[in-house]
Each structure stands twice: as C-alpha cells, then as structure tokens.
Symmetry: C2
Subunit: 239 residues, 2 copies
Amino acid sequence: MVRRNLFLISSSKVHGYEYLQHTRDALTDFLKKNNVSKILFVPFALFNHDNYTKKVADAITTWGFEVEGIHKHENPVEAVRKAEAIYVGGGNTFMLLKTLYEKELVEAIRERVFSGGAVYVGSSAGTNVATINIKTTNDMPIIYPPTFDALRLVPFNINPHYLDPIPGNTHHGETRQQRIEEFHQLNNTPVVGLREGTALLVEDDRITLVGDFNARLFYKSKAPKEMPPNSDLSFLLKE
Amino acid sequence: MVRRNLFLISSSKVHGYEYLQHTRDALTDFLKKNNVSKILFVPFALFNHDNYTKKVADAITTWGFEVEGIHKHENPVEAVRKAEAIYVGGGNTFMLLKTLYEKELVEAIRERVFSGGAVYVGSSAGTNVATINIKTTNDMPIIYPPTFDALRLVPFNINPHYLDPIPGNTHHGETRQQRIEEFHQLNNTPVVGLREGTALLVEDDRITLVGDFNARLFYKSKAPKEMPPNSDLSFLLKE
C-alpha cells in the first residue's frame, strides 16, 4: 500500500457556481476526515501571489479552515515539511512546475505526502503537476521548465478541464481527444479526462470519481471509456 | 536588409475548403515568383511521414510543383542545403521542434533561408517553429524538446489557429487571448494571432497579411489591435 491522500480537482471555476463552491462539500469532508485545520496554499501558477492566496482564502476560510500562502515563508521547503494540507492552485502549468523545481519543492512535497504527513489538494495546473508529468496540460508553454516530469503522486496522467467536441464547430484546431491520442503515440500511461465539476479522491490505493459528470478514460491504442460519477478508478494505480 | 522569403500559414485546413485550397492562389504566386519547381516537405510534426507527404503532394502537385519528403533522404541536412523550397507541415509543435534539433536541421534551415537559397513555407506547427520560439503554440507538450527556441526566421511570435471567444461558452479553460496575456507576463515579443484562413507573406523586411480575415496583434501591456486583410505588418521586423 502506498500512503497518500489527494483531492485532484479539474477546475476551481465551474459554470453556475461561485469560485470553488461546486466542490465545497466533498473537499470539506476530505479535509475534516484528515483532521486538517490549516492549509498551505501554493500560488505559483499565477503571478500575483498575494491576490491569489486571498481569493482562495476568501472562499475556504468561510468553510472553517485557515489558509496561508507558501510565498510568505522564508523557507518554503520547511513550510511543506510542517504542513498538514498542501493546496496547489491552478494557472499556468509550465510556470508552476518550473517554480516548484526552483524552490526545491518537488521532492519536499512528494516526501511529505507519501509519508502521510500532509494531504494534497490540486486544482487544474495543481492537478496536472500531481501526476506523472505535465504532458497532458492544456496550457501555453510560456516558460521552459527543467523537465516535464512532475510530482508523480499518481502513476498516470490527467487532462483537467476535459472538453467534449462542440457540435457544429468550424474551427480546425485539434479536439481534446485528438490531442490525447497524439500523446498516446509517444506515451503509454492512461489519461483521465476530468471534466469541469469533477475531481479524483485518492486515498492510498483507492480512487473515487467525485462530482456529477463522467470522466473519460484514455488508454493507448484503445477506444476511450466513459466512467460514471462515483466510479471506483483504483485500477489506475495498479498499472 | 535581412534576406528571407517566408509564407507562414495559420492552418492547412479551413472550414469550407479542401485541404490547402484556401491558400492555393497566394501560395502558388509566392512559389512561382521565387522560381520554385520542387518542394522539400518536412513531415516531422506527424507520425506517418509517408502518408503525410502524400497528402500534401496530392494537393500541391496538381498546382504544378513537385513534392518530396525529407525523410526519404539519407542526409536531411544536405537535402536542406540543396532545397529551393522547404515546407514544414503542421501537427505537434513539440515533436516537430525536437526532431528538427535531433536531425540538426535548425541551423541548416536558418542558413539556407537567410542566404536566399530557399523559400520557407510553414503551416500551423510549421509556422510556430519559424518564429522566435514555440511558447505560443496551442499544442499539447507530448514530448520534451531541448529548448523552446525555434528557427527565429522572424523576431516575434505567432499564435496559429487564433480563436475568438465563443459567445455563450460555459467552459472555464482560458480563452486564447488570456493565454497570450499570460505569455506576455513573462515575455516581451509581439504575438500575431493568425486566424484560420490567413497567412503572413514575409519578403525580406516586408510583411503582408494574406487572406480574408483580420489578424489580432498582441503587445505586452497594451490592448490588442485588429489588423485588416492586406495590412502591412513590416513594423514587426523592426522591433
């Protein structure tokens, strides 16, 4: 058994909901079950760390949790080593990953999460970096990271903000599914297409799909599979 | 004056047209004006090089030009050195750039184009790699290239397949404009948002917008500007 407690959200914003509200109940349950009272927020996927931390704190403190930004700590590695919950917010995945490496947080977060010391919450880019690598991000590569390898808290890929083809669309850019099929020409790991409004709850060796929509599961050289809400996706950890 | 003759297409496929047909007249003029009879096609942005070369040849040979795939040459650098036209097709920008470096084609193409020996035609990913770097590609980073720096045939960035926000869209992934604004938080070069159905014709120090749609021009910390068909964009080469 691998120890880990992860809550990997597709996106913080969902149509029809205020910021983070779509996942309020499930995320609150997750944090309470793990006795979290204070959250270390990692705002490095966006540029204004203070504003970003305030935005997340404004949403989450009303649920009964304390939020502090990691950028306020002189020693961010030490902050990770003491954290009970690490929440990595969305934004640009390339900038996020580069900053995590620069601040030597990749190994620090891995150790803290795998030792059971802290739970990990990711949203969008924060979900991308939790996986094996960032090769299935939707973001623009605005900065060159030292590698595409990421936190490897789970041994597969996620495509957050997964998007179905828009009927009647006349644009000729690739669909999301075509992009993931391109990924599978060069890579073997499964990809979970995580639609907005859904999340993966990872408890040690068990994964549950959270939210009201299906996930779309992509394997190399196989037809994609729709997985309904509450599906047990633990098999993804065995391959 | 810098010598160069480039035809940089947003996309080979455009709604309502057969493959490459939207640009048939302008591209034929460009090639004839430069006395091209044979085109060296670079299919490295897709996986099946033979099929891809055949698809392009099927379209272009009927216009009166010969097409050969660079992958058929034992020495691709030598093929570039002898080429009169180099056409780099679209697909995945990351895979394309990585392959160009692996086969030592980046410097070879630069030298050939800047010496006036060959004209350069790019489409989509082939247009991305013609610019200063690939940081404004739309593609998924399915493979890690040695750098994001590209052919630098022009000193600015292009976003091919440029897409306006879709009215009534409920998806919360970033719009194309938001992504380019993120790029400008970390980078200073102008970005030409090149809509499907348009191209840039670059003749030495002169640039003309080709096609029936506006281009959208993005500068760091400025409001974007719409440039109508046939605009003179030569000022982009002076900054």
